[in-house]
């Protein structure tokens, strides 16, 4: 006899409503981006790709997309290298002081980015890093570290420490152990962290608003200006492109996790 506890009909209906509330508003940008009108609206007479043409034919938009991409790649490299090594060190040493280090690495998720952005504005002025590619890459890289530390730590939790001890016992050096024993086993975790660090930088706006102005003009920054100045359907086209891109990265991550769990 099946006694499994199942949710009632009303609960299921309510859960559907919540799911629709979460997903529907985002998907509304798709029809809006295909409108044949010159203002934000649903398509009236026909579907049109002209707003996509506007975006993809605009040097300003393409320039920002490219710049955001390069910054995100640089930031991801910083976050992945520093975050992975740190997570491995903390995992192996595993004592009170490394717990503190790990807590410190999580600060960028906890402390609001407005606080960091304000501090960085002053701090980078002295270092002459305002409105510089390097400055934004460092800021995004440092704030991306927590995502890598979290995913790599999760991957390491499933890793048998005796493997590492065996490798060391047979005379492997630390770098050999890292390279041949530890890193291959936690590669999916690292990749997962890289994806999140990349999305973090790619979407980041608050810090950029404070430490960049003209030379560095990322995609979120251009969208922000677009929303505040002129709400035209080209914005919806950009939004759709962004959603598609994020979805692709997310599905990649899910596929990786499934493979790891299998």
């Amino acid at each position: 006899m099946d006694h499994a506890h199942r949710p009632g009909r009303w609960t299921i209906a309510a859960a559907w409503m919540v799911a629709i509330y979460l997903v529907l508003p985002i998907s509304i940008v798709i029809p809006v981006s295909l409108t044949d009108q010159r203002f934000l609206s649903l398509p009236q007479e026909a579907l049109s790709l002209r707003h996509y043409a506007t975006v993809l034919g605009s040097e300003a938009w393409l320039g920002s997309i490219w710049q955001s991409f390069l910054i995100a790649v640089a930031a991801t490299v910083i976050a992945v290298v520093a975050g992975t090594l740190c997570a491995i060190g903390c995992w192996r040493l595993s004592r009170r002081s490394t717990d503190l280090v790990r807590a410190m690495m999580l600060l960028p998720i906890i402390i609001p980015s407005i606080v960091y952005a304000v501090g960085l504005y002053r701090y980078f002025a002295k270092l002459d890093l305002l409105d510089r590619f390097l400055g934004v890459a460092i800021a995004h890289g440092v704030t991306g570290i927590p995502y890598v530390v979290i995913t790599v730590s999760t991957a390491l939790a499933a890793f048998d420490p005796r493997l590492e001890q065996a490798a060391r016992g047979m005379g492997a050096s630390l770098s050999q152990t890292l390279r041949w024993v530890i890193l291959p086993r936690i590669a999916p975790g690292i990749l997962s962290g890289a994806i999140f660090a990349f999305i973090h930088s790619w979407d980041e706006l608050v810090i950029v608003l404070f430490i960049a102005s003209r030379d560095v003009f990322t995609l979120p920054r251009r969208i922000w200006d677009g929303i505040n100045e002129n709400l035209d359907p080209a914005m919806a086209a950009v939004a759709v492109l962004l959603v598609v891109f994020t979805l692709a990265l997310l599905l990649l991550d899910l596929a990786l996790r499934r493979r790891r769990d299998a």
Partner: protein, 282 residues
């Protein structure tokens, strides 16, 4: 032996070093500077903090922020709980799709989401147009650029952050307990009230703390959906620094914000495990 042991450990400490240095030089230092400025500008002392007790506009911003965050947290918990409950009790294959409905909004740019809400809620937006076309209303409703719009957008942002800790805690509930209660003839609501709800309480508290502290420092959604009329703390700080160049006041509020968040976390530290929240993605 112990010297060699230390030599071995030194290698592992070296691995931690790059992240530690980066974090200290480029994260901790700028934030420490914010704290320092709040005590030194425009003149050394506690003058900026005095404003907490004397300035009406400072108090108004704090009260507005606390009110919006409390409402947001309550709504996000309610919606998140319903969703997490459904996911926790779903079959393995259905669960994947439900989780996707949570993860996709979680990772989509906050700007895109705020933009979508503006498209829907503004005066000539899709919601107002649809309601006018069907004749339900004759005048457009003021749905955005006020507190209502901020809360709609913030709850939308926060529900996934509520679901993840809730789900992590609900999945630890032994289904045999629920099956036993059902087998003994307990109605569904009694099972929920007497067994499921108490056992999911730690997750509920963790989710509440997480959503509340994330809401406190929220910048983009309130800035876009509030239209500059309803100011929350983060936007107010930005305004002080960028437009009014009042560093002392801005950094004072930033410090208060950080202290409030860290204090909340410290109080509930046993219940909130960030790693669990972000690690339970799939």
């Amino acid at each position: 032996m112990s010297a060699r042991r230390w030599g071995q450990d030194a290698g592992w400490w070296l691995l931690i070093l790059p992240a530690f240095l980066l974090m200290t030089a480029f994260y901790i230092a700028p934030i420490a500077q914010v704290l320092a400025i709040s005590f030194t500008e425009p003149s050394p002392g506690l003058g900026n903090y005095e404003r907490l007790f004397t300035s009406e506009s400072v108090q108004r911003v704090i009260i507005t922020t606390l009110r919006i965050c409390t409402i947001t947290t309550a709504l996000a918990l309610l919606l998140g709980y319903v969703l997490a409950y459904r996911i926790a009790l779903a079959s393995e294959s259905a669960r994947r799709w439900w989780i996707l409905a949570v993860l996709v909004p979680l990772w989509i740019s906050v700007l895109v989401r705020a933009f979508a809400w503006v498209t829907l809620l503004r005066r000539q937006g899709l919601v107002n147009n649809a309601l006018m076309d069907t004749g339900i209303i004759s005048e457009p409703l003021q749905l955005v650029w006020n507190e209502f719009g901020i809360i709609v957008g913030m709850v939308h942002y926060m529900v996934p952050y509520a679901v993840l800790p809730l789900l992590a805690s609900m999945r630890e509930i032994d289904p045999r307990l629920l099956a036993a209660a059902r087998g003994l003839g307990a109605p569904r609501f009694t099972i929920f009230r007497r067994i499921f709800l108490p056992l999911s309480l730690p997750g509920l508290i963790a989710a509440g703390v997480l959503v509340f502290i994330f809401s406190l420092g929220f910048y983009i959604t309130p800035a876009i959906l509030g239209g500059g009329k309803t100011l929350m703390v983060a936007e107010w700080i930005g305004l002080q620094i960028l437009d009014l160049i009042r560093w002392g006041l801005g950094t004072m509020m930033a410090t208060v914000l950080v202290v409030a968040i860290l204090a909340t976390l410290a109080i509930f530290s046993r219940l909130v495990d960030l790693r669990r929240v972000f690690g339970s993605g799939a």
